[in-house]
Symmetry: C2
Amino acid sequence: MQISRSMEYAVRSLVYLASSNKPLSLRQIAKGENIPAPYLAKIMRVLVNGKIVNSTKGRNGGYFLLSPPQKIALYDLYILFEKKEKLLPCFENASFCPAGKNCSQKIVWFKIEKAVMDAFKKVSLKEMVNKNKLRKVKYERSFNQIT
Amino acid sequence: MQISRSMEYAVRSLVYLASSNKPLSLRQIAKGENIPAPYLAKIMRVLVNGKIVNSTKGRNGGYFLLSPPQKIALYDLYILFEKKEKLLPCFENASFCPAGKNCSQKIVWFKIEKAVMDAFKKVSLKEMVNKNKLRKVKYERSFNQIT
DNA sequence: ATAAAATGGACTTGCTAAGTCCACTTTTAA
DNA sequence: TTAAAAGTGGACTTAGCAAGTCCATTTTAT
């Protein structure tokens, strides 16, 4: 059981965005976070459609957060990138399980699932940004080299 | 993020075993839980090596729990079947992340990871067995047909 | 002896996450 | 007004690994 690379990239990109006071281009984010640019493009589209970020086209265009970091929960990203909200395969494909609907195991799985979801709901982007001003400075230096 | 099929099969097989008062053969479990027998064989080996069950060979051989169900936590299975105990890819492959070791995001990920692990630690096999005596009866009937 | 069981490990298959590519639109600086 | 720099959409490829198979071996009860 593991977080997808997409989700990880998304989180890192958003933290990166949250540390900036101006929109950042795909290239800037990709370079700064060491993420393959074409793949990041795909991820950013998901974030745009998911109303997490917005974008402007053309020269000087880029991406920016639509809400302040403390309003963006990791759970919001979870549902965008880990579509299978259900931890268990049997939830998706009930035919597998001979017990069908009257399965006492489900109750337990649901409990676990809820605990996991709650863990993601409790954390906002803000918790991931604040503590390292060092990184922010480093990144801003990188911007200057790029632009 | 999803539980592996292996883990699901393992849980179901163990619940099945917990409902029986005698050792059950691979075939019996596979049939009863509708799991491909050769694949289940692989899973049972992991459970034997992991000291969750024990086995006897030869005629009338089979598998049985090594501990009472309330002593077997889902977490014990988690560490056997979801080897990547770490939720995040970056934990495995630190080189990906430009922030390296001094990464404030890690602290947050660890929190989430702990919450997930705790959820699995809290649940024992017993919670998954008790409630459906119906299934037990049904299964025992199946045994009779098979043996 | 033989049939029924587990064991070990090499092998194949299939799914899907991860990543690429390209044609297109929008914007703006020169 | 045009060229370069940005995002968009979607089809496509690659690669890794979970899921599943197979077979040769060992063990044991009858």
